[in-house]
């Protein structure tokens, strides 16, 4: 719209046209920023580039609370699992920021092949392995999957992959959220440089 106006204004009042071009440039740069945020909300670029580990590290850096990570993932997961786990952790961190009053959040991620937890073994007798994510905060507790839609959302998301969610959050805290998803870890992507 602005650009149309600029076309009309150029012959008669170039000053006004210049102002409008400036405005148009700002609008387009804002649109780009919004697009970038949108993409981040659907499938974050770091997740695609580096996998779950670095994506969570990047998320921790962007979180408004002090967030420590302890992640050992020597490989990549299937893309849909990566994505589900990423958004599950994002939701857990967002909850911690909004509701817990915590000063510190810790995220721990491990993948084990040898000894899957018993429940997972029942569902998948020859388990390819188990991804275990723990999000702990030192806040006031009282998180309840039955009440908060966020935690229920995580449960649904992980359920798609036979994953489970366990929440321990007594009044007074701390809150500990454990997520387990049976899944295989591929060998790390080899790089040519």
């Amino acid at each position: 719209m602005n650009l149309r106006a600029v076309e009309r204004l150029i012959p008669t009042s170039p000053q006004a046209a210049i102002a409008l071009v400036g405005e148009a440039r700002e609008t387009s740069s804002r649109a780009l920023t919004e697009l970038r945020d949108l993409v981040r909300g659907i499938y974050p670029p770091v997740l695609a580039d580096r996998g779950l580990g670095d994506a969570i590290r990047a998320l921790a850096l962007d979180t408004a609370l002090r967030t420590e990570t302890d992640i050992e993932l020597p490989g990549r997961l299937e893309a849909p699992v990566e994505s589900a786990c990423y958004f599950a952790v994002a939701e857990a961190l967002a909850n911690a920021v909004k509701h817990s009053g915590a000063r510190l959040v810790q995220v721990r991620i491990r993948h084990s092949v040898s000894r899957p937890a018993s429940r997972a073994r029942l569902r998948a007798p020859r388990s390819p392995g188990l991804l275990r994510i723990t999000v702990t905060d030192d806040g006031t507790g009282g998180a309840d999957p039955a009440r908060g839609s966020g935690l229920a959302g995580i449960e649904r998301r992980l359920g798609t992959f036979d994953g489970i969610l366990a929440v321990s959050s007594p009044p007074g805290g701390p809150t500990m959220i454990v997520m387990e998803v049976p899944c295989a870890l591929s060998s790390p992507r080899t790089s040519s440089c």
Binding site: L32, R36, L61
Partner: protein
């Protein structure tokens, strides 16, 4: 000044070559993938490299990794990394060796050619240039962390602009204060962040790093 350029899209690569040549840069090599970039950086040892994060072969962060590898082999090799999106994680990886001479900008900034060329020269001179979006993200959090909490509001403003790679005179202009005042603020910032006296450039890099790690 000799530059190596890595960008896989032909039109953008060609445009960048023209832009740089128009500003009296000599293009030692303009390559389109990460292995070629690493070879060119080692062979030509340019005054500055301008690198797209996303390069073949895997089209993920190959450009960044090639740049980091080149800096392991040639410490302090000035590299300006361009990307469609900015991540604090990648900014830290670039800054981690504390050698300075790194820049990390959104690709859109290329279209403001004065600022873009300024950024290249700052990086080539051993300075650091972080995209305002990286800096803005840092402001949203953890302002209460030590030792950043010791800074006054004004000192934080100066540090933010320093992180964006602006010179003292540019900072003075932006904040409507004198260059001398900027100098005083920086001295105070360096002292509060416990940065021992050394060259001013090096302390700027370390101050920016402390800011990013806060």
């Amino acid at each position: 000044m000799r530059a190596v350029l890595a960008e896989d899209l032909f039109l953008l690569r060609d445009g960048l070559v023209r832009l740089l040549e128009a500003h009296d840069f000599e293009i030692a090599a303009a390559v389109e993938d990460a292995p070629a970039l690493l070879r060119a950086l080692i062979e030509y040892h340019p005054d500055v490299a301008i690198v797209d994060v996303r390069l073949p072969p895997t089209l993920t962060d190959d450009g960044l990794r090639a740049a980091l590898e080149a800096r392991r082999q040639i410490p302090g090799l000035p590299v300006l990394v361009l990307s469609q999106y900015v991540e604090q994680l990648y900014a830290r990886e670039l800054l981690a060796d504390q050698e300075g001479g790194v820049g990390y900008l959104l690709k859109d900034r290329v279209f403001n050619d004065d600022q873009f060329i300024d950024a290249i020269r700052t990086v080539a001179g051993g300075g650091t240039v972080m995209d305002p979006e990286v800096v803005a993200k840092l402001l949203g959090r953890r302002s209460r962390d030590e030792p950043m909490a010791r800074l006054t509001a004004r000192e934080r403003e100066v540090l933010e602009l320093m992180a964006e790679g602006r010179s003292n005179s540019a900072i003075a202009q932006r904040l409507f204060i004198s260059e001398k005042a900027v100098g005083k603020h920086s001295t105070s910032i360096f002292a509060k962040l416990d940065l021992a006296p050394s060259t001013d450039d090096n302390r700027r890099v370390l101050a920016v790093l402390a800011f990013l790690n806060a």
